[in-house]
């Protein structure tokens, strides 16, 4: 993964936002970690899924930046399997994702300041 320039999003983070926006437009407001990794693999035509550490670190950072929110899936929905952590694009995240395609051609996407802890 390339080093982060201060105040910018990494390509992986931008890609996550774009996929989240595409899912939102397709009527899927929330997504989970493995589903996201699977979608990225399909889009890239890759044989490998994004690594655990890389994926969840990126999701955590996007949440810190206020571009995603997350919550645990309801136990009833899970139907016996482990509950998933569900992520959702915030309005700020949607705005950043909207700008992502043209801006990616010009270079790294600026990110908003982190939310206070």
């Amino acid at each position: 993964m390339p080093p982060r320039k201060p105040g910018t999003l990494l390509p992986l983070e931008t890609e996550i936002l774009q996929i989240a926006l595409a899912m939102l437009r397709a009527g899927h407001a929330t997504f989970h970690g493995f589903g996201l990794a699977h979608t990225m693999r399909e889009q890239q035509g890759s044989r490998s899924l994004t690594a655990h550490g890389t994926l969840y670190k990126a999701l955590g950072r996007l949440e810190e930046f206020g571009l995603l929110t997350s919550r645990w899936e309801d136990a009833a929905t899970a139907e016996g399997r482990p509950r998933r952590r569900l992520y959702e694009l915030t309005s700020q995240g949607a705005n950043v994702a909207e700008r992502a395609l043209p801006d990616r051609a010009a270079g790294p996407l600026p990110r908003p300041a982190s939310k206070p802890a």
């Binding site: 993964m1 989970h32 970690g33 493995f34 589903g35 990794a37 699977h38 044989r47 490998s48 899924l49 994004t50 690594a51 655990h52 550490g53 890389t54 994926l55 969840y56 670190k57 955590g60 645990w72 399997r81 482990p82 509950r83 998933r84 952590r85």
Partner: protein
């Protein structure tokens, strides 16, 4: 090697690097990884993927994400001496043996000197860690860094190779 056993290995790794973090942070990461591993295995089995390939895919995801795991761990909570020592004393030798021995055996059987070399390097790194506690503290730090790099490269290389060839 079954997907479930590999998932257990990943879960042990997650529990190791989330030790001494606030319980809410640690439990979130452990539970989220548990759900991911469950979904991964269920999805691949539904596609008809063989168990060995699923296991290597999980191992590859873990190995490639190790630097990000360590980076995340350092960001959310400073590593204390005890945690660092466990990293070196538990994880590295286990991974070294689990990956190094099969790499050497498979490399021999498949007439693949590169894979044998990776296995030898891995075992050598593991042995170095075994001797580290007997060395002075300065050597221990150098040994940890070098050994970690060797083991990580070997794990990524072998897991990726196995994932793409099974």
């Amino acid at each position: 090697m079954t997907p479930e056993r590999t998932a257990e290995l990943v879960e042990r790794w997650v529990r190791l690097y989330t030790r001494e973090l606030p319980s809410a942070v640690a439990e979130r990461r452990v539970d989220e990884m548990g759900a991911d591993l469950h979904d991964h295995i269920a999805h691949e089995r539904a596609r008809g993927t063989g168990d060995v390939r699923i296991a290597f895919s999980i191992l590859s995801r873990m190995a490639r994400g190790l630097p990000a795991d360590v980076s995340w761990r350092r960001r959310v909570g400073p590593l204390k001496g005890g945690v660092m020592k466990r990293f070196a004393n538990i994880l590295i030798p286990i991974l070294g043996v689990i990956i190094g021995v099969p790499a050497m055996l498979y490399g021999n059987a498949d007439d693949s000197p590169g894979l044998v070399l990776i296995g030898i390097l891995l075992i050598a790194g593991t042995l170095a860690f075994g001797f580290v506690p007997a060395l002075r503290s300065k050597s221990r730090v150098v040994g940890f860094v070098l050994g970690a790099v060797v083991v990580w490269l070997a794990v990524v290389g072998v897991a990726g190779w196995l994932e793409n060839n099974f």
